[in-house]
Symmetry: C2
Subunit: 347 residues, 2 copies
């Protein structure tokens, strides 16, 4: 089968690999229909994070179950599924509390896995895979993209919004206009936010932010951005803040733009984890978030909202490629000519 | 009038000062019935924090309104009130959201104020003072102590529990066995926690913790404390954590004893505000808390729970003094012969 392979920073290729097999009783093998490239893939593509070379990559897909291990009873061959990057067991204290991205029982084992491929071996398939009614052919191109977004990016934006405890009627600030930040805007809207201030300085992303529900756009950064949000909120600050970047400036700004008691819901991987928590304490600002709980959020409302046509998170895919053009798919995101690159793998 | 005066670290005296007057239209002058010494007063008593010498001190009391400024309409002379250390306006974004300890409009002005005295000038009296039905003489000695605890310590413990989002049935860890930590235990119980693990190594405090609802006592600290909590929770960690100390070790332990998704509700003033937030992010541990919202919490249920006899937060007062023995009141807390020192000021 074809699989995307990371060769070295800046260089992706497609290679033929043996088709994956069930290796453990809890595995499922999935035929991939669509996959995509994540902003976090750029960390190792750009050489900022280390990653072993010559291994398959990618962690977002939709597909059809091809075969399952003996212990898998929740899905069967032929099922159309969202393939989360998470692998919750569904019964540990973390999964039961709705944090399946931090499942206490799951540990990767067996061969390396990459979702940017024709097939993948999915671990802990029993509870974690999210079944979609019908077959891929029952859905439009747009719907397939919306479903694909539920494998990570939309669930992650939603995790920021849930972590920030966005309530109906709230004023919400969203830091970051990448695919996750835009999904955060859409999530805030879905949760009933009345006013959504998107921090964005790119015109193409501002347009998607507005389409997703942003009522105000703030292109400033740092102290100027804080001043702008304060001016927009009568000097009070926002009720909730979504931090979808992770760098020091974005986190520092996020902490300053909330009103006392606001929570910063963060999903941007912290690039400078040391921070002065006095800035939180003296204004009762909360800090929550981390790895998204994909299965929990998909089953908890996102899948239904996509099936109803209430949300169209797939609009973050602004360019499409096939596996043979994997280098172009990465380059488009690296050079910001795409918000997020879609990979069409099979029908 | 008599007032407690801070002379220098380790030295308190009682002096005659002019009786306070209304200085601004939003002031009320209160005749103090009971006051007390706070663990945070020990910071400057011990010389760890700076404080101007020869000024009145204290920030917790109950009393009767003596006179009010022209703008005060919510209380009138003769009203029996809890006198919070906070001064919320009741109408800014912070107060409306339930964080009146971070009121956006309040600023101290006029003469210095100390609650360990026969009278005090209370600023922003209009919304912030908490009226108690009847007169002090209508209450028992125990009830008066319970009401006094609502001026700070119980509201602060409750703020930790609310910040940690304690839910019915939860397993809760409480870091700290001072008066605030013990109030945190009582608050967790009031909010329906099923299991309350109190971190305490002092027998007198363990006894109060058990009386307040602690089901388990962990005297260990650091890694051993984490291991003990994990053993008590089948390796999962607690659903909520209350941090009522503020030092580096306590905060570090608090972050480790929660299950994924747990929130550390903290009211201990951070002694080392720099922390590595990776420990939060990768396990979705939340960090909330800060200055308590006294008026909000008192009106939101604490006052009623005291009036019903449902809770007895005044049990944290284990020694009593009069203003003439203010030095002894501080020394008792400094030397840990009292959990919290009560001051009987007037009938």
């Amino acid at each position: 089968m074809k699989a995307a392979i990371f060769v070295e920073p800046g260089k992706m290729v497609t290679r033929e690999l043996p088709k994956p097999k069930v290796e453990f009783p809890t595995d499922a093998v999935i035929r991939i229909v669509r996959a995509c490239v994540c902003g976090s893939d750029l960390w190792w593509y750009r050489g900022i994070a280390k990653r072993p070379a010559n291994e398959p990559v990618g962690h977002e897909a939709i597909g059809v179950v091809e075969s399952v291990g003996d212990a898998v009873t929740d899905v069967e061959p032929g099922d159309f599924v969202i393939v989360p990057f998470t692998h919750g067991c569904g019964h540990c204290a973390a999964c039961l509390a709705g944090f399946d991205g931090d499942c206490l029982t799951f540990k990767h084992q067996g061969s390396p896995v990459g979702y940017q491929a024709e097939y993948l071996r999915y671990e802990n398939a029993n509870w974690a895979l999210v079944k979609v009614p019908g077959q891929p052919s029952d859905y439009t191109d747009e719907q397939l993209n919306d479903l694909l977004a539920l494998a990570d990016v939309m669930a992650t934006g939603y995790h920021a919004a849930k972590s920030a405890e966005v309530h109906r009627g709230d004023t919400v600030v969203v830091m970051g206009d990448g695919a996750v930040g835009l999904s955060g805007v859409l999530s805030a809207k879905l949760l009933g936010a009345k006013r959504i201030i998107a921090m964005s300085r790119h015109e193409d992303r501002q347009a998607v932010a507005r389409e997703f529900g942003a009522t105000d756009i703030v292109p400033e950064r740092g102290d100027e951005a804080v001043a702008k949000v304060m001016a927009l909120t009568n000097g009070s600050g926002a009720d909730a803040v979504l931090e979808c970047v992770g760098n020091e400036q974005s986190v520092a700004t996020a902490v300053q733009v909330g009103r006392p008691g606001a929570i910063v819901g963060r999903v941007g991987i912290p690039q400078k984890p040391e921070m002065n928590t006095n800035d939180l304490f003296w204004r009762n600002i909360g800090l929550r978030g981390g790895i998204a709980a994909v299965t929990t959020h998909d089953r908890g409302g996102l899948l239904q909202a996509v099936l109803n046509g209430e949300i169209h998170p797939g609009k973050v895919f602004t360019k499409r490629f096939d596996l043979d053009h994997i280098q172009d798919a990465y380059a488009a995101m690296d050079q910001r000519t795409a918000i997020k690159s879609l990979l069409i793998v099979s029908e």
